[in-house]
Symmetry: D2
Subunit: 362 residues, 4 copies
C-alpha cells in the first residue's frame, strides 16, 4: 500500500466502498489560507455519480467535512483532515460472486497481493477511492489559482471512436466544459458521445475515452529533474487513477512521427519573456515548465463491470458465466474530468513549493 | 533537483557532461549477491554512443568502477557506488551559442529554474545523465533474473512513420533485438528504419520513435496502490527519461476505442494458477501485477539538436539563426532500449522488496 | 509541518485541541490481522487525562473509531484511519492571553513559523496531538507481540529529584507499572512521587521526570545503518514527543565516565545464540539490535503551564504578569508511559518490515 | 541500509574501510553558490586521524574531490558528488579474528542482519563512514553561514570523569576550541584530559566523553512539528553517529530535577524581537527554533577497540581471549567535534529549505 503522495504538500488518502467513509489528510498545506468546505465541495459534486443518465444512478451526497487544520475558516499550517461518510457501510453479501474474480477487475490481483480483499464493491480499487484525492486537490487548486493565477481545465476529448481534435484550446474553461453532461466542449460531438454511451448502457456494455487537460499560467521553472520531472510526476499521478492505460504530453505519440525540424518549438519574444511559437513540448522542456501551457492527455479504458455475460473461471479455475448486476458507469470519462484537474493541482503545487524552497542569495 | 528514486532499492544519480564523471549510489541493495563490473558493463555498452552509423560518432568508453559496497565480488548490503569517468572534463567554450537557448532543449527552462546552467553540452539534461540509471538498473536486472527468473526485453517498435506491429512477443529476446543496429527485431523493417535514420542525418534532421518493453515471469502481487501502482511507477520512470512524450500500457490509447466486452481479459486456468485469455490489461490490474507479461511502450520525440538552420531568438529576444555543430544522435531510440530495460528493472525490484516486506502470518 | 512518520508502516497524524477531532491514517499495515477498536482503546485509556489526582481533572473519553481499512474485524492491507472526536470543538476566547506568548510554550515559535496559531489550547503542540500516535502504535504493538513475541514496557523512573534506580528489569510489566497512579513500579518511591506531585499542584507549580523503557525479544538484525540506526529512530521518535529534553540508550551519559574495558559487553553463549554478559550497549550495536533487551530513557521537562504568576512580556514586548487558569497536568510522566511504549512500537515495526524486505537467496 | 538523509538537502553516503573510497552525493544543493574543494577540506582535516597523540597514529590524507555539480567553482543546482579515496584498498586478512565478534563492536549484529560483513576494519560501522557526512555538512555550513550568518561551534565538554561545566558560551569559537588537541576550550582542564587519554592509551584502554554544540543566529521558525521537530532531527542525526549513547538539549536530563517555575524561560524584549531571559529550552520551543542559541550535548561511549585482553566467545560460542592489535583511538571525542558540527549543519539547512518552501501570500 502506498497511499501517500507528494514531497512537501503531502496527502495520505484512506477509505474503501463499505467502511465508514473515505478521506484524506493533507500534511504541509501553507498557513493563512482562507478555507471552508465550500471551497472543496464543488469538485466533489462534479466527481459524484448520479449527475446524469451517462453516469451511474446511485445518488451519493458525498458531503465533505474539515476535521482539523483550520480555525475560523483559515488554515493553521497543521494537517488538514477531510472526511466524506459512506452512506452504506455494511459489507454486502455478493454471494457466489465472491468466488469469481471479475475479468479486468482487481479482485484477483488484490487477492494475490494481500491474501484478502474487501468482500464487496471494489474495496480500495473502486473509483470511490478518488474522493480523498479530489478533496485535497481542490485545496491545491485554490492555492495555485490565488497565488499564481493558474487555471487547470480538463475535458473529454474522446469517447470510444468519437473524438474532438480541433478545439480552440484558448477558449476552453470549466463552464464551457460543463455545458454537456459528457464534458466535451464541442456540443455537437458531445451529443453523439451521449448517444454512444446510452447505447452502450442499453447493450450492457461500456466505453472508454480520452481526457485532456490544459494548465495555463504555470511559471517557468517548475519540475525537479531527473526523477521528478514535471511530466514524470504528472504521468505517475494520472496512471495512479483507476482505469488509466496511457499518458502523453505535448505532441505525445504522434510527435514520434514527425522530424525534429518540424517538432522543435522555436523561441520568440512574448512581452518581457520568451515563449515558443509552437507547443509540441506541451509546456515542458528538460522536465521543467517553460511558461507555455502544459497540455496532456490520459487514456481511460472501458469500465470492466458490464452486464453482458462473460465466460470466465472462478478462483478455483472452474468455468463460469458471470453477469454483473447493479448500477455501473457505462463510461467514466465525464466524471474523470474533475479527478484529472485535482490530481494535476496536487502535482503542480508540490513542485511549486519545492521550487520555492531553493534559497535565493538576496 | 530530485535525483533519488526508489523506496527500498534507492538510487541517487549524479554527473553531467563536462564534470569529472557520472555515476550512482545504490542504497538498499540486498547482501550476498555476487557482483562485479562485468555484470554492469554490458548494458552500459549497449547504451554507449558510437555503436553504429545510426548513433553518434563519439566513442566514449564508459567503463564502470565499483567504488564501494562489495568485497571479494559479493555485495555487503552497504551502499554501492558506481562511477564512470568523463573523458573530456573541461567545459567547452560554445561562444555565442551560450546566449541562445536551443529550441526544444532545456537551456531556457534550466536557466529559469536555477538561474544558471552548465555552459556546454546539455549538463544534467544530457543523455549522459542516464549512465547512472543504467548501471544501477543492470544490478537490479541481475537480482530479478536470479531470484525470480524475470526477463525484461525492450525493442524499437517504430522510427518516424515506420512501425512494426505484428511481432510474436513470445520470441523476442535481447539477441533477436540486437541483430540490427536499430534494435528492431523485424529485420526487414529494421533495414528501412536504418535508411530513414541515415537519410535524416544527411538532411541534418532527426527522427523520433517508440520503444516497447515486455517483462516476463513477474509474479502476481507486485505494485503498491494507490499512488505507487505498478503502471504509475513505470510511467514516472519512463517519463523521467530524456525526450519522452508518452507512455502506455496494455491496450493503451487504442484500448479507449473498443467496448468493455471486447477489452475485458477473461480468466482461465494456466497450470496451478489463473491467467487471462487476452492481455489488454498489460499484465496489471488495479495497479498490481497479475502474473501475465507486463507490456508497455514509450514515445521518444525526435532529438532537438539538428544541423538545419532554425529561426529562433537569443535570451534577450533578438532574432537569430541557429545551426548546431558537432555530432548528434539523429535518432535516440536504439540507445534507449537498454535504458528502458534498466529503468524497468529499478521499478520492479523496488516493488518486489516492498511486497516482500509484508509480514506473513505463515 | 511533518506529521508523517515511518518508511513502510507509515502514519499520518492530524488534529489539534479545538477542531472536530484528532486521529491518524496508517499506510502499510499488514493484511489479515484481526483488529477492532478494543485492541486500540486500552492504551488510549492509559494516556487519557483525568485518571487520578496526579493528572488533569478533565474527563475526556477519547473513544476511538476505525474509519477504514478493516472488514469484519480483519485488516485488508489498505489504509487504516482512526478517529477520536474532540468533545469541545469551539475555539475558546482566551481574551488578553492571546496577546501573551506563554513562557516555554510554543505560542511564540508557532507564531514566528506560521504567522498564525490556534487561538486556544496548545493547538498542534498540545499533548492531545499524541492521540494519533498512541492509536497507531497500539496496532504496531499488537503486531510485534503476535508475530515476534515482543514486549514493550515503560515506567516512570524519576519525578523531580525522586528516582528509582535499582529495579529488577526482568520483572517489570504493565501490570506492575500500573499498580501506582504515577506508574513507578517501586511502590514506596511511587508514594513519595505522588506526594511530590500533589505538593507541586498545591504550589501552582509543576515537576518533570524521566521515563524508561525496555523492549524484550527483539530479534538481532533490526535497524538500518547509517541514518536509521535503531537508536537514531528511537531518539527521533522520543524527541518528537512534547516536553522531551533528552534521550539515552544503554549506559547513556553515565557510560561516558567509565573506561572501555569496563564498558564493553563480553559475548557469551545463550542457548543456540550469542548474548552479552552486561548490556551497556542497551541491546544495540552499530545501530542494529543484537538480541539483548533494548533499554532507553527519556527526559521530560516540568510542564510549562503553571498557576504561579510569571513576569514576562506580551507579543509587543510590554511587561506583563501571567497567571495560567484552568486545569493542567502538574507532571506529565505518568501519562507519558503509554505514549513512549506506542512510539517505540511504531519505530520497531517499521524496522521489522524493512529488515523483512531484504531478499533471501532461498 | 539507509544511507540517505534529508528531505530537500538530501545526502547519500557510501564507502567502508577497505573499498576504493568513501563519499557522498548531495541532491538539492542550491545553485549559484561558490564552491571548491577548499571549502570542504578544513573540516575533513579536523576529522582526520593522526592529528596528535590523543588520536590514532594512522596518517590518512583524506583529500576530497568534487566529481560533479559545479562548473567554474559555482554550484549548478545539480547533484554534487564528493569522493575521498581510501589509501589501502585491500581487505586485510585478520586471520582468526574474523571468527570472533569483537565485544561492543558491530561484527555480530552486522552478521545477523546481513548474513555477511566486511572482513576487516569496521566496514560501514567504522568511523571512516563519517567522511561523507562531514564533506556534505561542510557545504551546508557554508550556506548557513553566508545566507543566515549562522555559527555552529562544538567542543569537548568531558572526557571520562573530567568535565568543564562553567564555560562562557558566548566566547567559544572554533579557534578557541582548537587551541588544545582535545578541543576543550578550558585549557587547564584540556591538559588534564590529554593526560587521562594518554594514560588510557598506555593501559591499552579507552575513554568516553561528552561533546557539546551551540548554534548561534538560527532564525525563529525552523523545525517541522510533529515528527521533524528540530530536536527530533538533531537527535536522530547525532544518535546515528558511531559510538553515541545519549542526546540532550537545553536543560536536558538535569532539567527534570527542577520545578516548572524555575525551568520556564521568561520572555523579554531583545531589540525588535522577543527573546528569553534564561535558555533552558535550548533555543527550541514546540519543536521550532525561537531565535535563542540552540545548545545540545551528545554522549560518546569509550571506544570498543582496546588492547586489553577480553574474555569473550567466538561466533561458535567457544571461549576465547581477544587482544586487539593495531592503532586505535583511545578517545574519539576530539575528532567528533567537526563531525557534530557538520551533522548539525545538515539538519539545520534542510529545515531552513523546508521553512522557505512555505508559500507567502505576497
Amino acid at each position: 500500500m502506498s497511499s501517500i503522495f507528494g514531497t512537501l504538500f503531502r496527502i495520505s488518502t484512506f477509505g474503501e466502498s463499505h467502511c465508514k467513509g473515505v478521506g484524506v489528510v493533507i500534511d504541509g498545506c501553507p498557513p493563512n489560507l482562507s478555507l471552508t468546505e465550500d471551497d472543496i465541495q464543488p469538485q466533489l459534486d462534479r466527481r459524484r455519480p448520479g449527475q446524469s443518465d451517462v453516469t451511474t444512478a446511485r445518488d451519493e451526497k458525498d458531503k465533505v467535512s474539515i476535521l482539523s487544520g483550520t480555525e475560523n475558516g483559515v488554515t493553521l499550517g497543521t494537517p488538514i483532515a477531510l472526511f466524506v461518510a459512506n452512506r452504506d457501510q455494511r459489507p454486502v453479501d455478493y454471494g457466489d460472486m465472491s468466488s469469481i474474480p471479475r475479468p479486468s477487475h482487481a479482485d484477483y490481483s488484490y487477492q494475490m497481493k494481500y491474501g484478502i480483499r474487501a468482500s464487496s464493491g471494489g474495496g480500495r480499487s473502486s473509483a470511490r477511492e478518488t474522493i480523498g484525492r479530489v478533496a485535497a486537490g481542490a485545496i491545491a487548486e485554490k492555492i495555485l489559482q490565488e497565488r499564481f493565477g493558474i487555471e487547470i481545465v480538463s475535458w473529454v476529448k474522446s469517447v470510444g471512436t468519437l473524438s474532438v481534435d480541433n478545439l480552440d484550446l484558448n477558449n476552453i474553461n470549466r463552464s464551457s466544459v460543463d455545458k454537456s453532461f459528457v464534458r466535451c466542449p464541442d456540443l455537437q460531438i458531445a451529443e453523439l458521445m451521449m448517444e454512444a454511451i446510452i447505447d452502450a448502457k442499453k447493450n450492457s456494455d461500456s466505453l472508454g475515452g480520452i481526457v485532456s487537460c490544459i494548465c495555463r499560467n504555470v511559471p517557468a521553472g517548475w519540475g525537479e529533474p531527473v526523477f521528478d520531472k514535471i511530466e514524470a510526476k504528472l504521468a505517475q499521478a494520472m496512471m495512479s487513477l483507476p482505469a488509466t492505460k496511457g499518458f502523453e504530453i505535448g505532441s505525445g505519440f504522434n510527435g514520434t512521427r514527425i522530424s525534429g525540424s518540424e517538432h522543435n518549438d522555436m523561441f520568440l519574444k512574448k512581452g518581457a519573456k520568451l515563449g515558443t511559437k509552437s507547443n509540441n513540448s506541451g509546456g515542458v522542456q528538460g522536465g521543467i515548465s517553460n511558461g507555455e501551457p502544459i497540455i496532456f492527455s490520459i487514456a481511460f479504458k472501458p469500465p470492466a463491470t458490464i452486464g453482458k455475460p462473460q465466460e470466465t473461471v472462478d478462483f478455483d479455475g472452474n468455468s463460469v458465466i458471470l453477469e454483473a448486476k447493479g448500477r455501473h458507469d457505462p463510461c467514466v470519462v465525464p466524471r474523470a474530468v474533475p479527478i484529472v484537474e485535482t490530481m494535476t493541482a496536487l502535482v503542480l503545487l508540490d513542485l511549486a513549493l519545492r521550487q520555492q524552497a531553493k534559497l535565493n542569495p538576496e
